[in-house]
Amino acid sequence: MITRTFSDFSEAVELVRNGAGTEVEAVVAATLLFDNAIKTKIASSEMSVYIVPPGATFTGETMVDGFGKDGGERGTVAGTMEIGLIQRMGDVETVLRKPKVILERDLPEPESG
């Protein structure tokens, strides 16, 4: 089991703030900017984040195999590493940006010993 020692929650927060605070803040800022855009600046269609849940079957039409050979083989999605974008106009859905996923078979092997 991988765990890290923290005396309390505030110590963990402080560590993250010092070590990656700028990067995390950038993610939050970019998220809010994007959120505002799709909810207040776009009205002709509905746009939303498109991610693939773990356990889904890979399909090249709607997602990108970001870590494997992407040879059209079927596989099980372990997780989404880059968000995609989907547009809905009435009943029509269009993937404007495919999410990048990693398949279970491409997960790094556990370290021995």
Binding site: M1, I2, G19, T22, P110
Partner: protein
């Protein structure tokens, strides 16, 4: 002396000129009225690319930061919480992280940030207005483009204080009335 016919002809020419001018003005206004989006599709895609870049940087930084700590034996998380984490990441990713694979840890953090973005952007916030906004958006998307023009104006209220609540409620009531579009649907 101008004949009656010449007088009428002059008046007609003047009205023709005025009509032509007003038609041009209306055409320009129509172009403005039908432009419902304040940002382009390409700009939205660009925001997504930018977001993914930041997610990648943050997951690397977080992984390095957390990796500086010495691992200890045992677990600091109780079983119900562990199950929640397993459900969140899926069995295969969870097992890799639990095995202590540093690459898997980085991937898991990246995956977490991706899901964070999805959760934030899929809702309308936790405030009292969330339910109303969700319902309004549903009605707008059902009614089509004609009423979609209301949306940008409506959401301006989000950036203001409660003084504009009445305007928001008025817009809400307007949308509740039967549609004037060809479909004539009023079953909301």
């Amino acid at each position: 002396m101008l004949t009656r016919s010449e007088e009428l002809s002059t008046q007609l020419s003047e009205k023709d000129r005025l009509l032509s001018k007003r038609t041009t003005e209306l055409s320009a206004a129509q172009a403005f009225l039908t432009k419902v989006d304040a940002v382009s599709e390409a700009e939205i895609v660009g925001m997504v690319e930018n977001l993914n870049t930041h997610i990648s940087s943050a997951s690397s930084a977080l992984s390095v930061t957390l990796g500086e700590r010495e691992p200890v034996q045992g677990t600091l998380v109780n079983e119900p919480d562990l199950q929640l984490i397993r459900d969140y990441f899926g069995d295969s990713m969870f097992e890799e992280v639990a095995a202590g694979n540093p690459v898997a840890v980085t991937l898991a953090i990246e995956m977490y940030l991706v899901q964070f973005v999805e959760q934030v952007t899929s809702g309308w916030g936790g405030g009292a207005a969330a339910g109303v906004l969700s319902e309004i958006y549903r009605m707008i998307s059902t009614k089509g483009e004609a009423d979609a023009r209301v949306w940008p104006k409506l959401t301006i209220c989000l950036d203001r204080e409660s003084g504009d609540r009445i305007e928001m409620e008025n817009a809400y009531e307007t949308l509740r009335t039967p549609s004037r579009t060809a479909s004539g649907r009023g079953d909301y």
